[in-house]
Amino acid sequence: MQNKFKIILLTIILIVFVYTTSSHFLNPNKEPNEKKVKTIQLNHNKVKAIQNTRASVNEISNEELENKFYDDITTSRYSDDLIIETSALLKELSSCNSLEYYDESINIDYDYSFSDHQNKYISKALDKCTKLKKDFPTIANTTNNNLLNHTTSYIAKSVNSPYANLFLKISEYESMDNKNKVSYKRELAHFLIDSQNALLILYLPRLIYSYDVNDPLELSTVLGTINEDYLLMTAFKASLLLSCNYNQGMTCSSTSTYMINNCVKNEEACGQDVKSWFDFINTPAHNRDIHQVVNYLKQF
């Protein structure tokens, strides 16, 4: 009887041990204390389950697109959270689209002539974009914004993560009173900053500029000016500088969209990264304001 009891007890300990360690074995690459924001761990089966339930939702207008869309975003380039992944990719691809103006074989409205030095960096950036479009063909080729927004909302509904919930709350934004609008914007700003994702951080200026609520992040108290134009300009530069710290500085390299846009206008910018460019182009006084906002955002 006692032996039987010991065997049962050992079995329980074994089951508990296997259960607690199994998630780690299933995901050997994921550190338990990983700082990166990975709010939900969606594995392939879960995605398949989402795909299967999708057919029953009537509001989807283009089912084929939906399927292909999921194929794009399950690669987890930036995050396992499908909505973080989608937002980051959309930002990256829209930056690429803005660079296409400099590709003379595509741009039929303007005739640009660039020096060899300029072309060196422009073509590098365009090559990077071509590869990105190839890797994410569905998102890259969905030019209908309504469909894109609809699909993104659909994805957000199918995942349960803090960002997905915040993302979905956008639909309520217009009906919120000003106080709630400010709280919402601040909550979203917290999330974007804490995401430590360079592309997500680039969404910050959009939150800061608003046609309805005034200075939601209270930047005028940081800089001591109510000049809206200056606040926006400084906030944009500060967000960019903050993003340089993440994802191997992809948003700040010499082939980043921001630097290529500057390189096109001013040859001196070609080959520089954002940090060295800011030191070169901004006055020390303006740089102090930018850094003040960077520090403020870091603590936000």
């Binding site: 329980i12 508990v16 039929i108 030019t143 803090p162 917290h190 108290t221 000016t225 006055t283």
Partner: protein, 429 residues
């Protein structure tokens, strides 16, 4: 206890342990973000009070002791008095367009409608001082209308700026007596000549087509159609530009564009000749910047800025013979002070110019044109015009008070002061 009962208890225990672990795990997955969001306070931890810096003190002291020389006599309709009336008429123009008669104070209601759209902080109702200042402005505009009632009207009364035109007519007939008036009259005459030549120059740069206008339109239509087709093809081919179809269509487009261009001719010789004449006139403006009179500096500088924009437009034109920028004051200062970022420079340059005109003795009071524009926006009633953002904080303050306390960051003041100092050292007499 029987073995069966013991087993049942153990199974129940296992289920309980598993459920407990599962619950804990779920909580752990969501916790990092939500806890951060919950714990973070929504109120800003940083409040920086702008202290009176060395730079802002310098600007205030210099403006206080500035060379305020005004020989204006308020009673007579002197040239200077007419000049100021003309400036006010320009500000009042949007109100005059609403009503030919005396403007009713009820117009304030319209301002309230626009307020959320044009104010910095999406204000719903005007502040007390904002209403008071706007009321004063409406009264000033009405007074101006009464004052100019006996002025000879210009031929076309339906002209948008007929009041300004009749004041200008009076100005032309008024003798400039003081040195300031003489310089001001000269610079205004020069500016009118520059504007007329600039107009001709612009006409010339548009060029001519060797075919008639309807044929040009047809060709343009066909080019636009080709562009639309190309865009469509670009999307249909999944943004691929390397298809034969796309390439051949692009070639057709380029051919058509080249053909149209071949029919277009610009008389570069004529343009160059006129450009140099225009240029010479603009260079004649420079001595007027070296003045102790705020009015003269203001007019000469404003025209220089307009020319800068016009030349930039001319240079940007294809096959333009004009490729040289004038050594304009704005560009000279940027180079001297090593301010490279054009957009940033724009946020400090105009403020420094405004503060410098205050130093020279311009009206920078709480009822000045500049403050009016910040406080309630003189374009507030102009439906079609783009509206400036207005800041109620400006109402009741002087230009220097508003700029240094509210409109410029401490660091911006540093750069503004550098420009301000440069202007005093190089231009003020």
């Amino acid at each position: 206890m029987s073995l069966k009962k013991l087993l049942l208890i153990i199974v129940a225990l296992i289920i309980f342990v598993l459920l407990f672990l599962n619950w804990q795990n779920k909580n752990h997955n969501v916790s990092p973000k939500t806890s951060i969001l919950k714990n973070k306070s929504f109120t800003s931890p940083i409040t920086i009070k702008k202290s009176a810096t060395i730079e802002s003190n310098n600007i205030i002291n210099k403006i206080k002791n500035g060379s305020k020389e005004s020989t204006e006599s308020l009673n007579d309709l002197t040239y200077l008095k007419l000049y100021k009336m003309n400036a006010l008429a320009g500000d009042c123009q949007p109100l005059f367009e609403i009503s030919e008669e005396i403007i009713s104070i009820e117009i304030l209601n319209e301002f309230v409608d626009y307020l959320p759209l044009i104010s910095k902080n999406r204000q719903q109702i005007p502040t007390k001082i904002q209403s008071k200042k706007l009321e004063k402005f409406i009264n000033d505009c009405n007074d101006l209308k009464v004052q100019t009632k006996k002025f000879k009207k210009t031929i076309n009364q339906f002209n948008r700026s007929y009041l300004q035109d009749s004041i200008k007519l009076r100005m032309q007939k008024t003798i400039a007596l003081t040195q300031e008036e003489k310089n001001l009259k000269q610079v205004i005459k020069l500016i009118e000549e520059i504007k007329a030549k600039g107009f001709n120059l612009n006409e010339l740069t548009l060029g001519e087509y060797s075919i008639d206008f309807t044929k040009v339109q047809q060709l343009n239509f066909s080019i636009n159609e080709l562009k639309t087709k190309l865009r469509q093809l670009y999307r249909e081919n999944n943004n691929n530009i390397y298809t034969d179809n796309y390439k051949s269509l692009l070639e057709t487009l380029r051919d058509e564009q080249d053909y149209l261009e071949s029919l277009h001719s610009v008389n570069n010789k004529q343009i160059s000749a006129l450009f140099w004449k225009h240029n010479e006139q603009i260079l004649q403006l420079i001595p007027y910047l070296n003045t102790k009179y705020a009015t003269v500096f203001y007019e000469a500088h404003k025209q220089m800025m307009e020319v800068d924009i016009f030349y930039e437009y001319l240079i940007s034109k294809e096959s333009s013979p004009i490729n040289d920028k004038l050594p304009l004051i704005k560009n000279i200062i940027a180079k001297q002070l090593d301010i490279k970022d054009k957009r940033y420079y724009d946020t400090v340059y105009q403020n420094a110019i405004d503060l410098y005109t205050c130093y020279l003795g311009a009206d920078c009071s709480t009822d000045s044109s500049l403050i009016r524009n910040f406080c309630f926006g003189i374009n507030a009633f102009n439906l079609g015009e783009s509206k400036n953002i207005i800041y109620h904080e400006a109402c009741g303050l002087t230009v220097e008070e508003f700029y240094l306390k509210h409109f410029l960051s401490s660091n911006q003041i540093e750069d503004t002061n550098r420009i301000f100092e440069y202007l005093i050292n190089n231009y003020a007499k």
